[in-house]
């Protein structure tokens, strides 16, 4: 799960002119910092750096062989099955992102802007909308697999009950629908998060602004279009970045719905599943080298896009203020 993080924060404030009057001396500083630094370095930072280094070596099983430069990266683009899996998986991740973006900036934005001014049942609605987001993506994936089952799945039963029986189909069993189901379920589960964040941002917009526009005769849509929406830019930006990171990292939900091979026939494959298969299921002698190269590329791609996005939003924010 990804959290709302520092992305939307203003740059760290300028160091205050106070002289080095820290409340703590150096010995205390070191003692207080050491546990967190050591745990983070040993279990996160060093493994990440090591993962980068793994991708530049030729591996025989778990034995590190010779330095091989960018050979492993080359393999990803030239050798099967990577050559055909990689673009397809990336495409699926991007579709997950697009689906979530469309859903959260229409339905999600509408719900948030209807909800934030309400007094009655506001808490109840917030709770109901956020519930799917809190449930494990794995549980959500298995749940929908059962609900959509062609045998006695409630979804097909419901379609039959309301006279749309001809629409009933093996949703996850055929390549033409499986990916779209996963895109929709992902967007459905994720929606609680944008609703909450947009709601928080809307709550921060001074009421005088919209009231003044209202007195000047602006319609509700005009008020939304020219006052609320511009002021939401940074919230929408933040949510978009987090949506991007979440979609690129998607693993549990596709794993639950399509297994580690992205069945049927790779129709639901995503990058993380590809990484998982390459590292743990391929049995290839150079599994570590190639999977680490894939991980490195994903690192760079996700982090790079997130950073670029962030700096664009910051520039926009500065222009607005």
């Amino acid at each position: 799960m990804v959290q709302a993080d520092q992305l939307s924060r203003p740059k760290p404030r300028k160091r205050s002119p106070r002289p080095a009057g820290t409340a703590l001396g150096w010995p205390a500083t070191v003692i207080f910092l050491a546990p967190a630094v050591i745990i983070f370095a040993v279990f996160v930072l060093l493994p990440m750096i090591t993962a980068f280094s793994y991708s530049f070596f030729d591996w025989q099983g778990t034995a590190r062989g010779a330095f091989s430069g960018i050979e492993n990266f080359f393999t990803l683009f030239t050798a099967e099955p990577f050559k055909s899996d990689l673009p397809r998986a990336l495409m699926h991740n991007l579709l997950l992102f697009a689906g979530a973006m469309v859903f959260q900036n229409t339905v999600g934005l509408a719900i948030a802007s209807f909800l934030y001014k309400r007094k009655r049942f506001k808490k109840l609605f917030q709770t109901l909308y956020t519930l799917p987001y809190l449930v494990s993506p794995l549980v959500i994936g298995y749940l929908w697999t059962l609900l959509l089952s062609p045998l006695f799945g409630p979804v097909n039963a419901l379609l039959k009950a309301i006279g749309l029986g001809e629409l009933a189909q093996p949703w996850l069993g055929q390549p033409s629908t499986a990916l779209w189901v996963i895109v929709l379920v992902t967007a459905w589960q994720w929606l609680g998060f944008p609703i909450l964040l947009y709601g928080a941002a809307l709550g921060g917009i001074p009421e005088e602004l919209t009231e003044a526009a209202s007195l000047d005769g602006a319609t509700a849509w005009q008020r939304f279009r020219s006052i609320t929406l511009p002021l939401l830019t940074s919230a929408i930006g933040t949510v978009s970045i987090l949506t991007f990171i979440g979609s690129m990292e998607a693993l549990a939900l596709p794993y639950a719905m399509g297994g580690s091979t992205g069945s049927p026939a790779g129709a639901t494959d995503v990058l993380s599943l590809m990484f998982y298969r390459t590292a743990f299921e391929s049995g290839a002698s150079n599994a570590i080298g190639v999977s680490s190269a894939l991980a490195t590329m994903m690192f760079i791609f996700i982090f790079g896009v997130a950073l670029a996005f962030t700096s664009i939003i910051r520039r926009r924010e500065r222009k607005l203020s």
Partner: protein, 298 residues
Amino acid sequence: MSLLTEKKPAAGVPVPQSKRPGPARRKGAAGRFAVSGFLWVYAVIAVAPLLVMVVSSLRTTREMARNPLALPLNPNFASYSKAWVEASFGTFFVNSLLVTVGSVLISTIVSLMAAYVLARSKSRVTGIIEAVFLSGLMLPVYLAILPVFYLLDSMGLVDNKFGLIMVYAALSIPFSVFVLTSFFRQLPLELEEAARIDGAGSFTMFWHIMLPLVKPAIATVVVFRFVPIWNDFFYPLILMRSKENYTLPVGLTTFFGEYQTDWPTLFAGLVIATIPLVVLFLVATKQIVAGLTAGMSK
């Protein structure tokens, strides 16, 4: 006459003479009605699948095959005892609880200490350390799973709950440090200066003066880190080998292979994995919302 008609307008008949409840206001009422309707419809869409999950766990396979949509008129809890005992969900549940509580506890303690220093110190070195912690918020850190595996292997911590606890604790540090540091920064320095004059040492100051003040932020961090750790399946899938060490999510993955046709038990397993989060959410909505929107407020 006119008085009477004004007092009792027949339902649905427009009253053109009266000015107050004019078309604009009626349109407003209709609009509000449409908005409420929309909110309720989406609430149903959001929650119905979860309700079906609970309802189905209380039925029997035969009932479900006959009619997938009916309600459990005589609720049957056999699926729960089957999932809990036969499918070892009891063990998985205890493991999940242990791992989640342990890692959240460790990460919160070390993050509190670090955050206090980061918030108060002005040196360049601590600035860099803070930036490194925060970069962990944006990186897909689980891709470092192979080195993590070999690291734990070298320490004899593969297939060991303590190893998993340490990994999760480390992964929780970026978010916890981020939230706690910004909270510590808002606290006035005067308190510490006064305590210092009274001769308090760094540790006394941290423990007796600062900690009580950051309680709300601690609650946010604890509650909000609980959720992703409870839900994670990737690390235990790779790091745990024996079934007695599985957490709930990774238990689910094997369970779905084994109990394919036993639908109520499958649903019961999903409910067991979900209930603690729902309970947590209901008692700590405030903290969860605060965690989700951390960084959004000014």
